[in-house]
Symmetry: none
Subunit: 211 residues, 4 copies
DNA sequence: GATGAATGAGAGTTCATTCAT
DNA sequence: CATGAATGAACTCTCATTCAT
């Protein structure tokens, strides 16, 4: 059983994946403008030319990264959905899961935030990104509908508002995570902080739905 | 009949201010990496060399912008503080004012967000930025203290947590303002949306403080 | 029941020919510097490596193209030559035939012109190209000799001068075919133009030979 | 009278002119595709960035070169025009002058020829180039008109045809000047060759006009 | 023989920064 | 103080060529 000392195998798919992963890390850390194609190729352990062969341009690679991230998101969202008898509990659970997802995917968080700062240029340009499946929207809509049926949610409650509060509430933990701790002299890594933050988000949503 | 022939005298200050304002706009729109020194000098209506004379480097200019923004923030914060007999009302008012401030200062919002994405590098590097006066912290602390004294706030309530919730809650409205509307197919400019969002933030904080 | 399993057997020659034809088209259109090896391999419907296997390098392929074109030229020239009792008529016929050849072989025209602009580098480097058989030279020499014998051509007439006038006269119709029509606002495709041009070339040569 | 040992003067116009001259030489020698921006900046004795400051891109520089060459041409053409009582003599003179001009401007010749091989792309793209003043056309038209008035030129003679014959006849001396001498084993530098060639061109035109 | 993934040198272009004027 | 020409490093991208399969 001969062992290859040099795994210099020519594997198009693997190379393409390596590039994508390297790009995710680089774009997450530096943003589009700050990212360097050279850095990506080095991280991917491949030649710079490969990037252009597989993704056409820095812009093309960036859009591939964005598309990939949204794909990951929708897959994860699909996992979040479960059956709960109590709509309120379901929404609390979704909040928890969404926080978990963001905490577990810091690159995703940063890329989405860079994209927002770039005024969603790539999201707009790319029709595909706009039509990404977002199961969470459906799930929340269903929960809100049930809650209204059961008479425990406000008749005027808009499920989109809930999704908005949920997503921004989760993202917000990261959106000021470098400047605020300096000013407040607190440590975001302390678990109590996160727990309290999640509680506040949930309470806000609960309040919106109640009455 | 001595004629003062120093028409350029105050240009120095004006030029410096022009540069700073141009830099604020450019850094807000493009971030540090995406910003162009040429663009700034053109917007400022001055020569590129002036930037280096007054601010040493692109980095130096960026830090001046950051310092300026925090200065603006602390001044505005000072205006927020008023006397309210009811601590709960005071906090609600602070939330409203903070939202108003961010809506009225989009450049500030974006610069803080870029800074966070850059992992607060400049905040850390610059000792001054860490010691910026933030009246809002004092104000909230006072309100929380009073609320606890009056027995209407939770004994364990941490005023820093409130500030954190307040600031992230306000920022969160902008942090996903380009991608979320595309996915949710909603219009953030509709005033109801903002009102509901503010209510949710306030309710969250209220819930944290109560009991 | 032996089945011949060599379906690729003659592909070698065919592939080589495909490459050459693709190269002719590409070099004609773009010149040596502007031509792309990728484009050639794609046009040839083969792998890029084949080009290097058969022709060593882009330069080698170019020289093969050049050699091929001269080969074609000399073959065509051979066909031009026929017996004419009247040397003057023979030369007129050669002019006509040469024009016909160039019009029918635009790639040849362009490649020769690119080569001239490159200062005949490849012609010089390649000894073979210099020794290509050019029947037309022999033919014109013979016609001029006969004409002088018959006393109808000038004693000092140099057959090489005639060949030069003939070839440049024919090429000249193409050498400015893109810029001149723009400036003169004429349409070279109009057949009268070509007819007049040929007449002028013939008349020039006739004038040179006469007396 | 102090002599500057380092004429490192900052002279925008001179730099711009240096770049243009260097570009003329480089594009003439190598064509658009073969020319190197680095080579041009080195020849011009300036930084590469200057080229982009003054001419935007390699393409922009090329077009500036083309425009400049046509400008030179039209200026030279203007000098050709003189008063001749005999239209035939005038045309002969124009032929001579045109040959003189091309011989004296080898870069012009090559650039025009490269442009033709590139199918006049830049000529088409650039409206200005199409509307360049070409006094020679006017001059020939006048001569042809006079000749017809005097009854010595053919009534059907088209002055544009004459210009075409004149220009292609002159260019043709250069269009095959590298490959033909190799094949014919002649030396184009020998003055007799040029003289004979000019005579043939003139005779062709004369023949076209006569009758 | 044939493929196409991979390479590296180098091309065009941008940009923060400096410096003569 | 102010200008803008000039610089050089670095960036994105291309392309002839090689090599494992």
């Amino acid at each position: 059983m001969a062992v290859r000392t040099r795994p210099l195998e020519r594997n198009a798919e693997r190379t393409k994946a390596n590039i994508l992963n390297a790009a995710i890390a680089e774009f997450a850390e530096k943003g589009f403008a700050g990212a360097r194609v050279d850095a990506i190729s080095e991280m991917a352990g491949c030649n710079k030319g490969m990037i252009y062969q597989y993704y056409d341009s820095k812009e093309g690679l960036y859009e591939a990264v964005l598309a990939h991230e949204y794909q990951v998101l929708s897959q994860i969202e699909a996992e979040i959905i479960q059956n709960y008898t109590d709509p309120g509990e379901l929404i609390d659970t979704i909040v928890d899961r969404y926080f978990d997802f963001l905490i577990g995917h810091p690159d995703f968080v940063k890329i989405i935030m860079w994209e927002n700062l770039n005024e969603g240029r790539s999201v707009k340009h790319n029709a595909d990104l706009g039509s990404v499946k977002t199961p969470i929207i459906e799930c929340v809509r269903e929960a809100v509908r049930k809650g209204r049926e059961q008479g425990i949610f406000n008749e005027n409650a808009n499920s989109k508002m809930v999704v908005f509060a949920l997503i921004t509430g989760a993202f917000s933990y990261f959106s000021n995570c470098y400047t605020l701790p300096v000013i407040l002299r607190v440590d975001l890594n302390h678990s109590d902080f996160l727990i309290s933050h999640k509680e506040i988000v949930k309470a806000g949503i609960r309040s919106y739905l109640k009455k």
